[in-house]
Symmetry: C2
Subunit: 232 residues, 2 copies
DNA sequence: CGGAGAATTGATCACAATCAATCGAGGTGG
DNA sequence: CCACCTCGATTGATTGTGATCAATTCTCCG
């Protein structure tokens, strides 16, 4: 059960402890769930699941960073979630059977914990706090998505860039290790446009950029009194 | 308890019976909930709740049509849900305390049923099928919102118009009683642009238009093999 | 080194927002 | 009953933003 690159029971317990979905549960309940979980390591760049894969498991990030994105038939990709340790990858598809156009990919070497769908659902219904957490996460997803739609309508690329950088700053701190392509897929624009936006910010002295890296120099300048918080 | 324009217990029972959230429950459970509910009539044009109102109730449409929309500080409004009998108005804010920028307005004379937040939450946790329904509704909302974001990125106004009309056709049938302003707020564009799009469809013979009314002549022409279903 | 992927900047073009003006329909009050 | 007023519909003209195409440089890594 404890093969190479897998998590020991203790490490697994820590993952569940820090997870949005399971925190606040009694230790023995968490352990019961941890005992049924399996952990799988993914190297940077690996695909964890593909678009339209039928989902039989509930995925939880234990370590690393996983990008969850949706893809249109035209080939546009939109990054929807950057999941760090404790965050679930596929809450929605865990509960409704129908497949979704979502895809998960490890952006760094990562460890992912899998629970059988049936186990997780049964567990959730026995623990109201898990249900609460699920509804909260889904609620945030709805809010965030609607907020992004409003952004697409009312804000230009520059403004959306500021908002995304601010959100990333809050989640990851001042040093952001993302490529312009990745940033563009979060904003919903092209690489060129996002580079032009970054270029303006650089000239204003608000950021510095290197290959695959953006440093926020003046976080204050990105705080928007504006509309709802952006989640990633 | 049964003032003018209010619902009798029997009518109330019917509402709960046809509601996405409560269907499938035992009659006595539904009646217990119906007994705690109050019903309020709203005239066409009335506001049911405003943006940033603190939400203390769970709202369910009993009769009529209610538009739920979010509004940005710049004044852009995006219609998010057209709720008919049985549909909830504020699932998300019922479960998370923080206020949202959503607003509900009666588009026709409507009857709305209110449940105290605490009553509804307690009830939901006693009935797994209600929880399932809630998660399904939220899941659809997430899917739909993400699908709309992809539309904003990859589709032009004409294509988005086709998609919205198709979604409206599925929900309301071939005769759509909406103004161009309302349609524009669903698509996320301006009145003028939506009128131009409608004009093209009219010239193609796919629709006819009158004041505050659109008739779909060839529904087949709107079916998109494309991306995920749009919910309204 | 050499190659692949990332960054950068320029030039062009199309779509849709904006501004503007007119028309039409329905509702209200004198 | 007619005059009027408001809101919706419609079309034209103009403009700006961002997508697209293209070319070059840079950087990391094998």
């Amino acid at each position: 059960m404890n093969g190479i690159g897998m998590l020991g029971l203790d490490e697994m317990a820590v993952v569940f402890e820090q997870s949005i979905c399971f925190r606040g549960l009694k230790p023995q309940a968490r352990h019961a769930m941890a005992a049924k979980a399996i952990s799988i390591p993914f190297a940077k760049g690996d695909t964890i699941f593909h678009a339209n894969d039928p989902q039989r498991h509930f995925y939880l990030v234990a370590k690393g960073l996983v990008r969850v994105s949706i893809c249109s038939l035209e080939g546009h990709r939109l990054t929807y979630l950057l999941a760090v340790a404790g965050e679930p990858l596929n809450l929605v598809s865990t509960f409704s059977k129908k497949p979704r156009m979502i895809e998960a990919r490890a952006m760094r070497d990562s460890m992912v914990v899998l629970l059988k769908q049936t186990d997780f659902i049964a567990f959730a219904f026995q623990h109201p706090s898990v249900i609460s957490a699920i509804i909260t996460v889904l609620g945030n997803a709805v809010d965030s998505a609607n907020s992004r739609i409003l952004d697409m309508v009312g804000k230009n690329v520059d403004q959306r860039m500021r908002r995304i950088l601010h959100a990333l700053y809050l989640k990851f701190g001042p040093t952001l290790r993302f490529t312009s392509i990745e940033i563009a897929e979060m904003i919903g624009t092209t690489v060129e446009s996002s580079l032009r936006a970054l270029s303006k910010l650089r000239k204003k002295g608000l950021i510095t950029t290197q290959r695959s890296r953006i440093d926020i120099l003046k976080p204050e300048a990105f705080a928007d009194s504006d509309s709802g918080m952006l989640w990633l």
